[in-house]
C-alpha cells in the first residue's frame, strides 16, 4: 500500500506538486490522468527518488514506512518499480548483465542467495518469451538501438523479474503501436495480484482499455482534483481536460 500525504515538491524554485494526496491499496490499479505539465512525471520521479527534486513538505509511505529518506536503490529493493517513460540506453552493458545485477541486488536485500547462472537464464527466458522478446535482444547492450516498443517490453521484463510490490507505469503507452501496446498490457495484467499495486500514469484513456483500473484520479497543477472509478477515464476522453484547466487558473 502506498500513501502520499500533502506532498509539496519543487525543482529549481518552480513548484510542481502542491499538496498532493493519494492512497493506492494493495492489489489496486490506480490511474492518474491529467494534462501535460500537471506534474504526473514529477510524481513518478519523486516516488522513485530522483535527486533533482526538492520535497518541501509531505510524506510518501510504502506499507507504512516513509521512503523519502531512502536512496533510489533502497526504494527499489523495498518494492518500488518505475517503468520509465524514456528508458535509458546503457552502451557497453549487456542486458543480461544488467538484469542479473539488478535481480541479485533485490535478492540480497531479501536475504536470499544469488541465483545460479542457469537458473537465472531460465527465468529470464521464460518471461522474455511471454513478452515476445527475442533472445538476441538480451545479448545486446541495454536498450541500445532498441525500438520504442522493445524498450517498453524490456521495462516490463524487468518488472516481472524484480517482483516489486508497487509499480509505476509512466506514460508506458507513449510511442507504442497497437500490437506493442497489447503485448505490454498483457505483460502488466499477468503481474496483477492481491499484494501488488500499480500506479498507471497516462495522458490518454487508450491504455486503460487494456489495463483496466480500479480507480482514476485527475491531476492538475500538482494536485489530485477529482477521483472516481474507471468511468471517469471515459468521461475525460469525451470531454477533454478543459474543465480541469479552468480550475487550475482559478
Amino acid at each position: 500500500m502506498l500513501e502520499i500525504k500533502n506532498l509539496v515538491v519543487q525543482i529549481e524554485d518552480k513548484r510542481i506538486l502542491n499538496g498532493l494526496n493519494l492512497t493506492v491499496n494493495n492489489g489496486e490499479v490506480a490511474a492518474i490522468m491529467g494534462p501535460n505539465g500537471s506534474g504526473k512525471s514529477t510524481l513518478s520521479y519523486v516516488i522513485a527518488g530522483k535527486e533533482d527534486y526538492e520535497v518541501l513538505d509531505g510524506e510518501i509511505l510504502l506499507d507504512g514506512e516513509n521512503v523519502l529518506e531512502m536512496g533510489p536503490d533502497e526504494r527499489a529493493v523495498a518494492g518500488v518499480f518505475l517503468a520509465f517513460q524514456y528508458p535509458l540506453e546503457i552502451p557497453g552493458v549487456a542486458s543480461m548483465t544488467f538484469l542479473k545485477a539488478a535481480l541479485n541486488a533485490h535478492r540480497r536485500a531479501r536475504g536470499e542467495g544469488e541465483l545460479t547462472t542457469p537458473d537465472f537464464i531460465k527465468r529470464v527466458n521464460a518471461t522474455a518469451t511471454q513478452l515476445e522478446i527475442p533472445k538476441d535482444m538480451l545479448k545486446r547492450a541495454l536498450n541500445v538501438g532498441f525500438s520504442g516498443g522493445e524498450k517498453k517490453r524490456m521495462e516490463i521484463l524487468q518488472m516481472a523479474l524484480l517482483e516489486p510490490s508497487f509499480c509505476i507505469l509512466d506514460e508506458t503507452d507513449s510511442g507504442l503501436d497497437i500490437d506493442a501496446l497489447r503485448i505490454v498490457s498483457e505483460g502488466v495484467n499477468a503481474l496483477r495480484s492481491p499484494d501488488r499495486s500499480f500506479l498507471v500514469i497516462t495522458h490518454y484513456q487508450r491504455l486503460l482499455n487494456y489495463i483496466v483500473p480500479d480507480s482514476v484520479h485527475v491531476m492538475s497543477a500538482g494536485r489530485i482534483v477529482k477521483s472516481g472509478g474507471k468511468e471517469l477515464a471515459i468521461e475525460l476522453e469525451a470531454n477533454g481536460y478543459a474543465d480541469y484547466r479552468e480550475s487550475e487558473a482559478a
Partner: protein, 437 residues
C-alpha cells in the same frame, strides 16, 4: 664523439654519468648510441614547454636518474619470475626479461613452435646480426627523447621473427625486481613476415615501493597481409616511473590491433608511433587507463598514414579517481598522397572524484583532400540519469558506478578476440574496481 655538455638537473647529470660509465661495456655499435645520446643532450629531459611533453613534464617528474640494473644471476631471475602475476592465467610462450636482461634459461630457443625464431639482442648486437639493420623502423621516432634514451642505454632484449600463421601466443614479460630503485632499457624487435599472423602479449611488472625507471621499446615491422594482435598490460609497481614506446611499421593489406591497459605505475607514458606503409591496411589502437591516488598516465599516439586507402581507428578510455591525472595526446597525420584515408580517433574520460585532472589533445594534420578523418574527445562524470536508472532497479550506488565504469572501459577491451586474454584483462579491471569500493 659527442661532446657532453653540462646539464641542468640532477637526473640529467645522472644520465650523463651513467652513459660515461656504461658506454664502453654496452654491446654493439657505439656510434649509434653516441648519436642518440648527443641528440638527447641537445635538449635534455623534456619539460612542459616542449609541446609533446606539455602535460607530462619529465624534467619535474624524474628528479633523479636511477642506476641501471646489472645482469641478474640465474637464481635472482628465477625468483623474480616466480613472483610475477600479470596475465598469468593465459597460456603462451613466455619470453621473460628481468631487470632489462633476457632470461635465456627460461626459453627453449631450439624448441620453439614452427614460424617463431628468437635471437637474444645482446648477442646480436655484439655479433652484428643481419636483422639489426631493421632496428628503428620509424625514422621520426629518433627525435623523441624517451626513445633516444632507450637507444643509448639498451642492454638487452630479443629479436623475434614470425613467419606463417602462429597460433601459440607469445608473452613478452618485462620484470623489474630489486629492492632499491633501478633503471632498465629493454629493446625488442619483432619482424612479422609477409602473410604471417600472431598474437603478442606484453606485461610490465616491477616491485612496489621502489622508484624503478623502466624504459622499454618494442619495435615491429609487420609485412604485407599480416595480422597482428598486440595486448600490453602495465602492472608496474606503485612507485615506478615507466616509459615505453611502440614503434610500428605496417605493410599493405594488413590488419593490426594494439591495446594498452594501464593499471600500474606512479607515472607512466606509453607512446605509440605508427606508420601505415602500404595500401588497404587497417589499424586499430586502443587504450584503457585506470588511475587513482596521485597517479599520472600519459597515452601519446602518432599515426602517419603514409599510404592511401588505409583505415585507422583509435579508442582511448580513461577513468580517473583520487587526485590522478590522465593525459591523451593523439595525432593523425595524412600527407598529400594518402588519398582515401579513413581515420577516426576518440578519447573519452570519466572523472570520478573532485581532485582529478584530464588533459586531452587530439590532433589532425591533414594534407590530402579526399579523406575522411574525425576525432572526438569527451570528459565528464558518470551520467546522472543513467545512475538513477540503475539505482531505481535496486543497484547500490557503488555497484551502479562499477557497472558503468566497467562498461565504459570495457568498450576498448572488447576488441580483444582471444577469450583468455580478454578475461584476464576484465579481471584486472574488476580488481581495480574492487580496490576502489
Amino acid at each position: 664523439m659527442a661532446e657532453i655538455k653540462l646539464m641542468k638537473t640532477p637526473a640529467e647529470t645522472g644520465l650523463a654519468q651513467a652513459y660515461e660509465t656504461v658506454k664502453t661495456t654496452l654491446p654493439g655499435d657505439a656510434q649509434s648510441r653516441a648519436q642518440a645520446f648527443e641528440l638527447f643532450t641537445k635538449n635534455g629531459l623534456p619539460h612542459r614547454r616542449v609541446e609533446e611533453f606539455k602535460y607530462t613534464d619529465l624534467r619535474a617528474l624524474m628528479r633523479e636518474a636511477a642506476p641501471f640494473a646489472g645482469t641478474p644471476s640465474a637464481d635472482e631471475a628465477k625468483a623474480a619470475l616466480q613472483d610475477t602475476k600479470a596475465l598469468s592465467g593465459v597460456k603462451a610462450i613466455q619470453v621473460p626479461f628481468v631487470n632489462g636482461h633476457f632470461v635465456r634459461d627460461a626459453v627453449d630457443l631450439g624448441g620453439l613452435p614452427e614460424g617463431v625464431e628468437i635471437v637474444p639482442l645482446a648477442e646480436a648486437l655484439a655479433s652484428g646480426h643481419e636483422w639489426l639493420a631493421k632496428l628503428s623502423p620509424v625514422s621520426w621516432a629518433n627525435q623523441n627523447p624517451v626513445y633516444q634514451l632507450n637507444t643509448t642505454f639498451m642492454a638487452d632484449g630479443v629479436m623475434l621473427r614470425i613467419s606463417g600463421e602462429v597460433d601459440t601466443l607469445i608473452h613478452l614479460r618485462f620484470v623489474t625486481a630489486s629492492a632499491s630503485a633501478v633503471a632498465t632499457a629493454t629493446r625488442v624487435l619483432v619482424l612479422v613476415e609477409d602473410g604471417a599472423s600472431v598474437t603478442l602479449l606484453e606485461s610490465h611488472e616491477s616491485t612496489d615501493g621502489a622508484n624503478h625507471q623502466p624504459n622499454d621499446v618494442v619495435e615491429m615491422i609487420a609485412g604485407d597481409r599480416t595480422n597482428v594482435r598486440h595486448v600490453r598490460l602495465n602492472a608496474e609497481g606503485d612507485k615506478a616511473l615507466a616509459l615505453s614506446t611502440l614503434a610500428l611499421k605496417v605493410g599493405a593489406e594488413a590488419e593490426f590491433f594494439s591495446l594498452n591497459v594501464v593499471a600500474g605505475a606512479a607515472t607512466s607514458r606509453h607512446q605509440v608511433f605508427g606508420v601505415l606503409n602500404g595500401e588497404n591496411t587497417k589499424v586499430r589502437i586502443n587504450g584503457t587507463t585506470m588511475l587513482k591516488g596521485g597517479q599520472h598516465a600519459d597515452s601519446t599516439l602518432v599515426v602517419e598514414h603514409a599510404a592511401p586507402h588505409c583505415e585507422s581507428r583509435e579508442l582511448f578510455k580513461t577513468v580517473i579517481d583520487g587526485e590522478a591525472t590522465g593525459v591523451f595526446q593523439g595525432k593523425i597525420i595524412v600527407p598529400h598522397h594518402a588519398q582515401k584515408t579513413d581515420g577516426r580517433m576518440m578519447s573519452a574520460a570519466l572523472l570520478l572524484s573532485d581532485g582529478g585532472t584530464m588533459n586531452n589533445k587530439p590532433e589532425l594534420e591533414i594534407f590530402a583532400d579526399d579523406v575522411q578523418c574525425a576525432h572526438g574527445a569527451t570528459c565528464g562524470q558518470l551520467d546522472e540519469d543513467l545512475m538513477f536508472y540503475l539505482m531505481a532497479r535496486g543497484l547500490p550506488k557503488k555497484e551502479a558506478e562499477s557497472l558503468m565504469v566497467q562498461a565504459f572501459l570495457g568498450e576498448a577491451i572488447e576488441f580483444v578476440d582471444n577469450q583468455d586474454v580478454h578475461d584476464a584483462l576484465v579481471n584486472v579491471l574488476e580488481g581495480w574496481l574492487r580496490a576502489r569500493a
